[in-house]
């Protein structure tokens, strides 16, 4: 398979998941789209380095994780006044699923940077072994960390839901 065809196939397969990862990380759709594009450009540039030691999925998610983690300078742009944001998030009785999903993205973006990535991978149902490979954290430590993040995310979500 030609490299471009392979890229296209990989993009189709992984872009939806990577988009969600970036959305969880930033809590901002436009920023997430930028990070998604940047991740795939990096993937394209590094495709010749892929030796098959890890699965394509692990390799691509790792590039996306690195892209998110090093996206620093614009990070402050997304910080808005907490009260203003809370007002914007007051649950509406007619809130549909999509709004709940958007709230979930926002809640994830309140976590620490690495926690956002880890929990997004958990939500995507990635096996712990693969999450450990992507993040470079040992599986045992990861389990402890995931337990804590799950609890934290549930608390954040509930606190917004109560408003």
């Amino acid at each position: 398979m030609k490299q471009e065809e392979q890229f296209t196939a990989l993009y189709k397969q992984y872009a939806p998941g990577i988009r969600k990862l970036c959305l969880g990380y930033t809590g901002d759709a436009m920023l997430a789209e930028d990070l998604l594009q940047e991740s795939f450009v990096k993937m394209w540039k590094n495709m010749d380095k892929f030796r098959g030691d890890a699965a394509w999925s692990t390799w691509i998610y790792r590039i996306a994780a690195n892209t998110c983690l090093t996206h620093l300078r614009k990070k402050n742009e997304q910080f808005v006044d907490a009260d203003e944001e809370r007002l914007a998030m007051i649950p509406d009785e007619a809130r549909n699923k999509e709004q709940e999903v958007q709230l979930l993205y926002k809640c994830i973006s309140k976590l620490a940077e690495t926690d956002r990535l880890i929990i997004t991978l958990v939500l995507e149902d990635k096996p712990y072994e693969e999450i450990a490979d992507i993040t470079g954290i040992t599986e045992n430590n990861l389990r402890v960390k995931i337990h804590r993040i799950k609890k934290q995310l549930s608390e954040i979500y509930s606190s917004y839901e109560r408003l």
């Binding site: 993009y11 930028d34 940047e38 995507e124």
Partner: protein
């Protein structure tokens, strides 16, 4: 408290737009590749600096300008050497960026960026003063022959204008830029360190 499994269901119900067609050209054109954005000016700068001494040599030795003083030859040598060294240093910096591995494990990747920014921070502290000093030494020697025999008012005006601009560029403009750049690099390094510590804490 909302159960985590409920959140997981919610997450998995969200279906992002399906990718119908993939245009690689459009992706590479639209993407805001941060690393490439940092690398491009370094490469252009390195090439421009590399070519500049050729132009200076052509002006002094191959154009109609007649300059024969030994001080002029020394000035050309100093300018060429300083500019070429700066070109190589810029290329070295570009290469340092190029070698950052986007596919490495996050902790390693962050460490590579941190090393790069630490290098840049050190570099801007010593490189700019040295470059400025030697370049102006070369320019000063070059002007000796150029202004020789010209009216004193012309010489004084040229020296005042050149020295004035250089001092302003270095002590006011340059210092301001340097401070801003140092602040920016420190902020980036602090953030990288913060994320790196999150990963270390998990190890």
């Amino acid at each position: 408290m909302k159960d985590f499994d409920a959140l997981k269901d919610l997450w998995q119900q969200s279906k992002p737009a399906e990718q119908k067609s993939v245009d690689l050209q459009a992706i590479t054109r639209q993407a805001k590749d941060t690393k490439a954005k940092l690398m491009r000016p370094l490469l252009i700068g390195s090439i421009t600096l590399f070519l500049t001494p050729f132009f200076v040599i052509w002006v002094v030795y191959f154009s109609n300008v007649q300059l024969n003083w030994i001080s002029t030859h020394i000035s050309v040598a100093i300018i060429a050497l300083v500019v070429w060294l700066q070109s190589f240093l810029t290329f070295f910096t570009w290469n340092k960026l190029r070698l950052i591995d986007d596919t490495a494990a996050p902790a390693q990747h962050l460490q590579q960026w941190e090393t790069y920014y630490a290098f840049r921070k050190k570099q801007i502290q010593w490189n700019k003063p040295i470059y400025f000093l030697f370049l102006n030494l070369g320019m000063g020697l070059y002007f000796l022959e150029v202004v020789h025999g010209r009216p004193i008012v012309y010489v004084l005006t040229l020296v005042a204008f050149y020295a004035g601009w250089m001092l302003y560029a270095y002590f006011i403009l340059g210092k301001r830029i340097l401070e801003k750049e140092e602040k920016r690099l420190k902020a980036i390094m602090d953030e990288l360190k913060g994320i790196e510590e999150q990963l270390k804490a998990a190890e």
